[in-house]
């Protein structure tokens, strides 16, 4: 692309745990090809994977839009799920509304959002109950 910015878009399928991770693994491959520092790829990929899992589990699927610029990667994951009533509470490690089935798979331990925060340089969560949630993750490259 002439401006040097790479834009990627992925559909995140609802309730399909077997496909969860396809988007973040796709982004990871692109970052690898671009020769981005491994530690930064790890940060971006883990934060995005957590957001992707959340969209599958809670959001009824959604869309991931990724912008890779020279100085940063921005991942925006948007769903039209039930929304988050209390974001501060949701950010607390260990707080979870996941189903037993999801917990039995080793997810839903209330660490998804804390991990996104840990691995991103900037995390913005916009949510409206009944409308959906948009999570924006920025990792500086």
């Amino acid at each position: 692309m002439s401006d040097g910015i790479i834009r990627l878009k992925f559909d995140i399928l609802p309730n399909d745990m077997s496909a969860a991770g396809e988007a973040s693994s796709g982004v990871k491959k692109v970052l690898n090809q671009l020769g981005v520092e491994p530690q930064k790829i790890k940060k971006a990929a883990i934060a995005m994977y957590e957001a992707e899992i959340n969209a599958v589990i809670h959001g009824g699927g959604g869309i991931a839009e990724v912008v890779i610029d020279k100085e940063y990667i921005e991942v925006k994951i948007r769903d039209e799920g039930p929304g988050i009533a209390d974001i501060e509470l949701a950010m607390q490690e260990g707080y979870s509304t996941a189903s037993d089935e999801i917990r039995e798979m080793g997810f839903g331990a209330g660490m998804g959002l804390p991990n996104m925060k840990r691995y991103s340089d900037k995390l913005v969560i916009e949510s409206e109950v009944g409308k959906g949630t948009t999570v924006t993750i920025v990792v500086n490259l």
């Binding site: 745990m17 077997s18 969860a20 991770g21 973040s24 693994s25 990871k28 790890k42 990929a45 883990i46 994977y49 957590e50 798979m105 080793g106 997810f107 331990a109 660490m111 998804g112 991990n115 840990r118 691995y119």
Partner: protein
Amino acid sequence: MKVAEFMQRTGLKAFTGDTGLEREITGIYVCDLLSWVMSHASKGDAWITVHTHLNIVAVALLAEVSCIIVPEGIKAEEATVKKAAEEGIVILGSEMSAYHICCKAYELLR
């Protein structure tokens, strides 16, 4: 220690054939909470988990572990084994408990 030598000395078997056996095991990490593994496992750890669903492959790739070990005679799901082999991730199995695998690994890796 390479995965191949670790297998040989502990009697672990690979579900995933010959893929990834040259990877270096530098430690062991035992945990079944996937987000916890992603944020705490170190690169090169052999990850012991009772989960065998597809998502463990993505977690192993993200956490950059050297291999996955499924303890206590648990069989890895076919789809998981296929995906792991495609991604170059080794899944090993053992009749031993996680504790016993750790004891053996301690002797071998210290």
